[in-house]
């Protein structure tokens, strides 16, 4: 189908976006890369009265920027820019690895990091990676600015912690400490994965721990902590964790038990690979 009629606004500053969202509230949608919003409009799953196209904001960078111990992703940093970024490759190797699993090149060329986060799809890669890397979501509106920890940002499937009138101006990710690995299983490269996992292994000797976040395994990606057992114990420890913490859905794509099986196998693969990089 085709998008329903709406009033189109193309602001040039972040402050103008604030004003438009304050004026139109829930009846307005922010259009960034459009790779989630436009399909929703095409299907008429949403019919916002106002579309606020932020693609022509002046003074926005398309590049991730490293400063003060974090890498900042402004609201118009495309996924393809993050994929090509030397800063991301150097400072956030886990993100660099995972981003190649986000849809396809022709989607990543338009889709933004912040847009994928705002969309809050529990089957998407970026929310899980951000939770593991302890990212912060920088929100703003006419009421001011605030930062929200990624682990608190995702509140349900396609639901986030933004208040009416708030939008994401930036994502900040602390420089990665420890070794990461990303694994997922999808029927076709770039499709939504049946299950996926981002893992980060950090610490020395007996205090080595893995932090994991799954995608496709429940309503929101959650950070799960796992004391690092010996290599033999990884699958067993994960089986217990998956059983206790995750509630995957049973649907036409896969049964819940198969998703749990994938979660154990992929999680073990990711943790082993991250751990193999050696203690720091």
């Amino acid at each position: 189908m085709k998008p329903p009629a709406f009033d189109y606004h193309r602001p040039e500053t972040r402050a103008e976006v604030d004003d438009l969202l304050a004026e139109h509230g829930d009846d307005a949608k922010v259009l960034a890369g459009g790779q989630s919003l436009v399909p929703i409009l095409n299907f008429r799953l949403a019919s916002p009265g106002h579309v606020v196209d932020i693609n022509r904001l002046s003074a926005e960078t398309d590049e991730p920027v490293r400063a003060n111990g974090v890498v900042s992703f402004g609201c118009l940093v495309r996924q393809s820019s993050a994929e090509r970024s030397g800063v991301v490759a150097e400072c956030l190797p886990l993100l660099a690895e995972a981003i190649r699993f986000v849809a396809h090149p022709a989607i990543r060329s338009r889709g933004t990091i912040a847009g994928s986060v705002a969309h809050a799809d529990p089957a998407a890669e970026l929310p899980a990676v951000l939770v593991v890397l302890e990212a912060e979501v920088c929100a703003r509106g006419t009421g001011g600015r605030r930062t929200i920890a990624a682990r608190d940002f995702f509140t349900g499937p396609l639901e986030n912690a933004l208040a009416p009138g708030e939008w994401i101006e930036e994502i900040r990710i602390p420089l990665q400490r420890g070794d990461g690995a990303f694994e997922e299983f999808a029927r076709r490269r770039g499709d939504y994965a049946l299950c996926g996992v981002a893992a980060l292994v950090d610490g020395d000797g007996g205090s080595r721990r893995a932090r994991l976040a799954y995608l496709g395994m429940g309503d929101v990606p959650r950070a799960l902590e796992l004391p690092l057992p010996g290599d033999d114990g990884v699958e067993e420890a994960l089986r217990a964790l998956v059983e206790a913490e995750l509630e995957p859905s049973d649907d036409i794509h896969a049964g819940a038990s198969y998703r749990r099986f994938l979660a154990v196998k992929l999680g073990a693969r990711a943790v082993r690979r991250a751990a193999a990089a050696g203690p720091r």
């Binding site: 189908m1 085709k2 998008p3 329903p4 009629a5 709406f6 009033d7 189109y8 606004h9 193309r10 602001p11 040039e12 103008e16 259009l31 459009g34 790779q35 436009v38 399909p39 409009l41 095409n42 299907f43 009265g49 579309v51 196209d53 693609n55 022509r56 393809s80 849809a103 396809h104 090149p105 022709a106 989607i107 060329s109 338009r110 076709r188 490269r189 770039g190």
Partner: protein
């Protein structure tokens, strides 16, 4: 700030296959529809209209993107390339000719998307494994050929190009 009310039409300028165009659009119109119905460039096909099939892939300022996932008004001032821009002076682009030779198409519905999506691969295509090519074209669906011919066509395209310059 650019503002267009619902139902209202506005004039936008954009470049398609090197030719400047000015056209009236509603804000809600998709780039894919404006290319097809506004400019008569029906080579860009529309399959699923939600970014899954890849048939509507075009180059926007040099990068492959889904024209069904972009409003035409967002392409204001952009440089668009469609499948119609590939052949030059009646001669098929090497990638197109390679698709013909390797039977990379059957019904042809998905072909424009495959061609536009694969253009950026040509520099490295020969050295890519089957798995790598399949990975790179994972964003395109074909329901006829089973992909073997398509993979071969992409990998052999640089050889077709060399033949011409010899």
């Amino acid at each position: 700030m650019r503002e267009v009310g619902r139902g209202e039409r506005t004039r936008i300028a954009l470049t398609v296959n090197g030719e400047p165009h000015e056209i009236e659009v509603e804000a809600r119109w998709l780039l894919s529809d404006v290319l097809r119905h506004g400019l008569g460039l029906t080579g860009t096909h529309v399959g699923c209209e939600h970014g899954v099939c890849g048939c509507c892939t075009v180059l926007i300022d040099g990068h492959p993107a889904r024209s069904c996932l972009m409003l035409a008004i967002q392409a204001e001032g952009a440089r668009i390339e469609t499948v119609e821009g590939l052949a030059q002076d009646g001669r098929l682009h090497p990638l197109q000719e390679s698709f013909v030779r390797s039977h990379g198409l059957q019904c042809g519905f998905c072909t424009p998307g495959f061609l536009m999506g694969a253009l950026s691969l040509l520099a490295e295509a020969e050295g890519m494994s089957d798995a790598e090519v399949r990975d790179a074209i994972g964003g395109q669906l074909c329901r006829c050929t089973g992909y073997k011919g398509i993979v071969d066509a992409i990998r052999r395209a640089p050889a077709v190009e060399r033949e011409r310059t010899r």
